[in-house]
Amino acid sequence: MSFLEMLYFIIPSAILYATPLIFTAIGGVFSERSGVVNIGLEGLMIVGAFVGIYVNLEYGAQFGAATVWIAMLAAVVIGAIFSLFHAVAAISFRADQTVSGVAINLLGLAVSVFLVKMIYGKGQTDMISHPINRFAIPYLKDIPFFGPLLFRDVYSTSILAFAVVIAAWFIIYKTPFGLRLRAVGEHPMAADTMGVNVNKMRYIAVMISGALGGLGGAAYAQTITHDFSHATIAGQGFMAIAAMIFGKWHPVGALGAALFFGLAQTLSIAGSQIPYVQEIPAVYLQILPYVLTILALAGFIGKASAPKASGQPYIKGKR
């Protein structure tokens, strides 16, 4: 394999693996920016992956090629609803947000596998017949170098992911809603004094994270695994949290981190076929995202610090 061929293989694959991380990490950005820590992203991704595969299997014959979009829409809706567990516990019932996030992870996995066993009578679904396929973008694919690198093997979900990043950046930094969201996460009392409904903002943010987590899960299952079992989502949610932190709670930062972690995942999976990379034991690439996140938090790679009020329930009238 020549160096160029190698690049043409690695980069599209890295973007493919990064896509679910981007969705989910952006979801995390919304939640944490509003002051609610969401450890439950893994569970939300699992629920999204299950819903995506279920809808695809059940309605594939009916909707044909449009199925994947209906499946992802369903995952978005169910993800948002499922995240309400976390929202109610963490915001209204003042539960410890980490504990409630852990419960979301347990519940998401348990409910999904329970339903798979109930509906299909086994622990793993069949393969879907309408996965998300890659395609080439006309004209753009003919650009020398960048064509085969970026536009020859494109997944529609990846394009959507980039759109979501831009939208998230715009919403968080350029709209009144975004300003309120950040205010609620940094200094809820000040925001409250200015007439912002802190709890309402936080509910919306958590539901956005649920929707995007669900979308991430559905995208992962329909592009990469094509079926659902207990091991379909194995750490991607936590990796998305890592991407969010490594990206310093900023949508564009999270995008960069997710792309980088996608590259690491690709290399750890396909590395044995790539010259030079095959010399590196896969374990280094597998642990890279997590270790880098720890180093980033420790301040070795630029200081990463969370929104001030993240993790604390807001109690009116309490100083």
Partner: protein, 348 residues
């Protein structure tokens, strides 16, 4: 109602609501809850074999619960018990099969290796928290996956690409013919005694030593502890290290007792995360941990009987456990409800 009664009532009410919601889920899904719960019951207490295996399941749960609870008492959230347990598991298995020693030295040595390995893994998080003010929740989550992949890679290296290490030597095994005979060939082992000793140790450290007093003081109020001349940083590192030691021992129970080896894992064991539930339900007290571990360990093992005996997926129990965590964590709202109730009674 006194605070003490309410503190006791919150977990009990949570368990009851959890079980009721579990029954509703079964009902809605077209299963028979009565059949389901009786299958669960026989799965736990059916005969001496299931009782033996239930106790075996409770053993690592006690240690995982202690690990979470101990860290909580110092104001730290050790969500990385899972990773510390995996590292401890590997260390115990390695000492178990790689060296040959008389039993009286071998078992303690393997236990110490597991405890040290788990302690080291947690120490990383404690150190980073103390030195760089990095939140321990994120670090321990990241260390969980790091532990999983590193342990898998080491097992692969040790066995030239195999899936599990050699079986540990008889001299390192916690199993015994006596326990096996009285429980109809279950895999019950002496680990439960070690787990109970550790419960006593946690109680002793927290309640009877100066160090334990300091650890709790840091947990209550870091500023006050600092003002009183206690080193907050030193106590944070120590608390995480001791917590990791308990977790590592939990791994040793699996290596030296239940499985007798360490194998490559596709995902987490779940014991570490269930440890959070155990500690939460047990209000982070040593005795409470025994109670929480007994409940969740029993439910978890008993659930394995549900698919066969009642045709219900065993995940129903994981759903119930997750719900109980939600309710205990949302204790605030249960407290408010209880207080309103007792006020109403007083008014009559």
């Amino acid at each position: 109602m006194s605070n003490r009664v309410i503190n006791l009532l919150v977990p009990i009410i949570s368990i009851i609501i959890g079980l009721i919601v579990g029954a509703l889920v079964m009902l809605v899904s077209g299963y028979d809850p009565v059949e389901g719960y009786s299958a669960l019951w026989t799965g736990i207490f059916g005969d001496s074999y299931t009782i033996g295996n239930t106790i075996r399941q409770i053993t690592p749960y006690i240690l995982a619960g202690l690990a979470v609870a101990f860290a909580f008492r110092t104001g730290l959230f050790n969500i990385g018990v899972e990773g510390q347990l995996i590292i401890g598991w590997l260390a115990a298995a390695w000492v178990g099969y790689a060296i040959e020693l008389p039993k009286v030295i071998h078992i303690p040595l393997a236990l110490i290796a597991a405890a040290a390995a788990g302690a080291f893994w947690a120490f990383i998080a404690g150190f980073l928290k103390a030195k760089f003010k990095v939140h321990e929740v994120i670090v321990t989550i990241m260390l969980n996956y790091t532990a999983l992949y590193i342990a898998n890679a080491i097992i692969r290296n040790l066995t030239d690409g195999g899936f599990k290490t050699e079986r540990i030597h008889e001299s390192a095994s916690l199993r015994s013919d006596f326990l096996r005979d009285i429980t109809d060939n279950s895999s019950l082992h002496y680990g439960i005694i070690i787990a109970l000793l550790m419960v006593a140790l946690m109680w002793f450290i927290l309640e009877k030593t100066t160090r334990g007093y300091e650890l709790k003081a840091v947990g209550f109020n870091q500023n006050a502890a600092d003002y009183a001349g206690m080193s907050v940083n030193k106590n944070i590192i120590l608390a995480m290290t001791i917590s990791g030691m308990f977790a590592g021992l939990g791994g040793a129970m699996e290596a030296l007792g239940t499985f007798q080896n360490a194998s490559i894992k596709a995902g987490f064991t779940g014991i570490g995360f269930d440890g959070i539930a155990v500690a939460l339900l047990g209000a982070n007290t040593p005795l409470g941990v025994i109670f929480g571990a007994s409940l969740f360990g029993s439910l978890k093992y008993g659930s394995l009987n549900m698919p066969n005996a009642a045709g219900i997926p065993e995940e129903i129990v994981s759903i119930i456990i997750a719900l109980i965590i939600f309710f205990v964590a949302s204790g605030y709202i249960i407290r408010v409800g209880l207080q309103k109730l007792s006020k109403k009674k007083e008014g009559q």
